[in-house]
Symmetry: C3
Subunit: 201 residues, 3 copies
């Protein structure tokens, strides 16, 4: 699941950069950052040296996603960003990353809020930073149900570990909830409401 | 003072997000980030796990500010952002946060410049990150006297501790100076000059 | 070289802020951040308290660059940003910062990818953050050959140390490559290609 997520996130980030006419370096940086940025932020928050600076496997998956994006963009175009073939692996990545981040939080002995923050940051942090670099309002804060799925999954994971379940089962439950909520949100176009304003009388 | 600041900062951040038509999650994230982001950045800079991941009291105050923002926005509208009823608690928060950040700097044995950077970052970091996410040029860098007040207060706090005064007195002096300068700046519409350009001859 | 880079980076950052009509505080913050932001990010990534919070020499050079920018802007105007008199010391800074960052990476025992990330981040991180605060798409991701030079130099530095060469020689080789590639890129207007899109059939 983690590998699927790394490739999917990198593909999405690189496609956005291609769409914005970045040069090939910018495309590679945006792809790698989208895939690895959330985990790196999580590691910095808990005081670790980011795993991406030490392992090379994850970097390989991220670079594979960059290559996929370039091939896809040249063959099909960047309209593919709105296609389910991107949405599903992206949802798998969100689920895997949120669960891994929340697990790190449980291990780092932070508060329940901290567990949810770390899970959600791991899931959406890379996309958020990429959108900032692309000069967009981060889609995770405005578009349909996305970060909310990571919050739901991280919460379930925390409840599961607090109930004494083992890390593997808790992670599976958390990732399952994130994935299910996300896929349902895409299928039924769920979205959170905005705060409607009443004009002053 | 810290509690007042957390609620005020979260209210301001959430009101901005409501004004920008973010969904309820985005509104909550912006509020919490405005309140807790400066302190989290400070903690990361000195190598600590951010307090917000460990304590729950601060998170509670931040969420209270989010609720205040939603209620206010629906009753009165977001124009309230320009009203003194927001400015004064916001100034209290700036003073409290800058003093707490500068104190952390004194404790972490950084340079005088480091003390001022940590105090100012704690005071304005949350608002700055929020403005970046809202796709605005951060108001703390362009609008009237804001970050300058935190710089002044942090400097006073450092001078006070370097003069041998105790932490409590130094913090009170630093916070008092930040608050006083900020309130005077609002009252008299003080602003820093820009660098006027001479066109080349 | 480091001192030249600090002054040059701060001058460039402050000139951009003057161009964007920031007040004098914003001008100083942008200058200091451009000069010290890359190194601070590198330090946070490897788990150190940023050197800029502890040393005062670097801060002095950065502030000198801010003063240079103000004097230059009032005498000549900000058009000087496009002039070679800025490009050359900026290239020296890029070379010095990338080499210092890559050396930190070698010392921190990260992967080869990590060495390149740390070198490049140190070289371009300050400019990238400044552009985000100025609400621009970071120039390092879109404009000609810039971050690529830091990547080339960091790679050379890693190869040199992995081949058993001492730190001084490796740093000189890395910085030399970054500087040479950057100056050639400016002279011959080298740029990376974008990913050309084929419209779907």
């Amino acid at each position: 699941m983690n590998a699927v997520g790394l490739v999917a996130f990198a593909t999405v980030g690189s496609l956005k950069a291609i769409d914005a006419d970045f040069d090939v370096l910018g495309v590679a940086v945006l792809g790698v950052l989208t895939a690895l940025g959330g985990g790196a932020t999580r590691d910095v928050l808990v005081g670790s040296v980011p795993a991406m600076l030490q392992s090379t496997t994850d970097v390989g998956f991220a670079l594979a996603g960059v290559v996929v994006a370039v091939v896809v963009a040249r063959r099909v175009g960047t309209e593919v960003l709105a296609h389910p073939v991107v949405d599903v692996p992206d949802a798998v990545g969100l689920a895997a990353f949120a669960a891994s981040g929340a697990l790190v939080g449980v291990g780092a002995d932070v508060s329940p809020f901290g567990v949810v923050v770390l899970g959600t940051t791991t899931g959406v942090g890379g996309g958020l930073v990429s959108d900032v670099l692309l000069q967009r309002v981060p889609f995770v804060l405005t578009e349909d149900l996305y970060a909310t799925c990571a919050i739901a999954g991280s919460t379930v994971l925390w409840v599961a570990t607090a109930s004494g379940l083992g890390a593997t089962i808790a992670a599976a439950a958390g990732a399952g909830v994130t994935l299910a909520v996300r896929l349902l949100a895409i299928r039924f176009e769920w979205a959170l409401p905005t705060v409607r304003l009443n004009a002053p009388a």
